[in-house]
């Protein structure tokens, strides 16, 4: 019996260690899984004076899905808080000596939600009969295109690359207005600009 005791202890120790490491490993892989592939800071672009977000690569880095929070201060035409989800597709990549990748045109779609007393997802049915105002004041659907220059890091760090981008977008209401005013309003006038930097891990 006594001879078995150390073996039992070793067995128990190994099991506990195994459990600990596997749970730690599981935790690490879970964290790894939810860890964003990129963080982003943007100026303007209809989703805030400044906005910050995190994003994930999809479709073998040919697309990204990201979430953003932006704000407009009072002295810039606010105050407003804006929540945005962006889907960006990157169909073209021009590789320059493995140092720079240019994505010349990335189509982008993003719904944005403005919070606050002046904004509702739907106009109140108690106040207006159905269809009185057909749109949502809080939710805008934006469509646009960006252009991105990605500088690849060759340092042995977790930072893979840094991107600079410019993005032009329009939204559902601007598009409706433009469609009805095609003869007087130039096409480009419904597009608004934003600029940003993205750090890819």
């Amino acid at each position: 019996m006594d001879k078995l005791l150390p073996k039992k202890l070793i067995f128990r120790f190994v099991v506990i260690l195994g459990l600990l490491t596997s749970s730690a490993y599981a935790q690490k892989s879970f964290l790894k899984r939810i860890e964003p592939d990129q963080v982003n800071l943007q100026y303007a672009g209809s989703i805030g004076y400044f906005s910050g977000g995190i994003g994930y690569n999809l479709l073998n880095e040919k697309a990204t899905l990201s979430a953003h929070y932006g704000y407009v201060p009072k002295n810039k035409g606010g105050w407003m808080s804006i929540f945005t989800a962006k889907f960006e597709y990157k169909p073209f990549a021009i590789n320059i000596k493995e140092k720079i990748i240019i994505h010349p045109i990335n189509p982008v779609f993003f719904p944005s939600y403005t919070s606050g007393d002046n904004f509702d997802y739907q106009f109140k049915t108690s106040q207006y009969k159905e269809g009185y105002y057909f749109w949502s004041s809080a939710l805008r659907l934006h469509l646009g295109a960006g252009t991105e220059v990605k500088i690849i890091s060759h340092l042995n760090s977790s930072l893979k690359s840094v991107s600079l981008y410019a993005e032009a977008n329009t939204n559902d209401l601007y598009a409706i207005s433009w469609l009805e005013n095609r003869t007087t309003t130039p096409f480009y006038e419904m597009f608004k600009l934003g600029y940003g930097v993205r750090v890819n891990f």
Partner: protein, 267 residues
Amino acid sequence: MFYRKICLFLLFISFCGCNADEYSPNQKFNSSTPINVNAREINTLPSKAAGTTIKIAVSGDTQRNYKESEDFVALINSRKDIDFVILNGDISDFGLLLEFNGIYKKYDKLTIPFISVIGNHDLVANGSDVYKRMFGDLNFTFNYAGIKFVCHDTNGREYDFNGTTPNLEWLRKNLTADLKADRLVAFSHVPPTDGDFDPILADPYQNLINQTPGMIASIHSHQHQPQIIRYQNGTGVPFIVTNAIIKRAFTLITITNGQIVAEEINF
């Protein structure tokens, strides 16, 4: 070929770049938004003797019809007999800065002053704040040729018919003749007989207009219908409802010695 396309796109983006940075479609102003346009326009009204004939072109509801607005401005500029223009509410459709700015740019080409009144669409989202900064107060008055013009907010539904709009207390104070102006004309967007006018205020409002000494007319828009003239009980002060710019129509108001003639003109 591909690179040329990229260059063209970059050129397109930088072309857009002229004042195209936008923080939100709902922002209340940007760096190029004009301020207090109504006060500026009122200041440019020439002085005219009381009792002389004046002509005012009144219509509302430009909303997002830039072509019709452009044609209206061209027509008014081609005539030399009109004193000023009243844009009687619904400058915008979605209450967005882009729309206010678009209409402002068209109306700013008028060679005579234009004064803008608040409409229900202008109060949607941040529209009220856009209007206040760009044009000024929602309720205001000005004098011209011995007549006091009382412009005010009657868009009751936008305040959920809470009894505040139109502001009768403000109206009682301001619907008064003064030394320089012993006659009055009221301008507001929603007529008191419309479903969008606060129902509990409809009668007191019409009574007040009718009981105001020197009152010539109360002029409204909103309904996008051919011009109509109504009286509260068949007599008294006329409530004139104009057609709309989006229907390519305006009402030409002619006032001589307190006598008013309203004629719809289509363009």
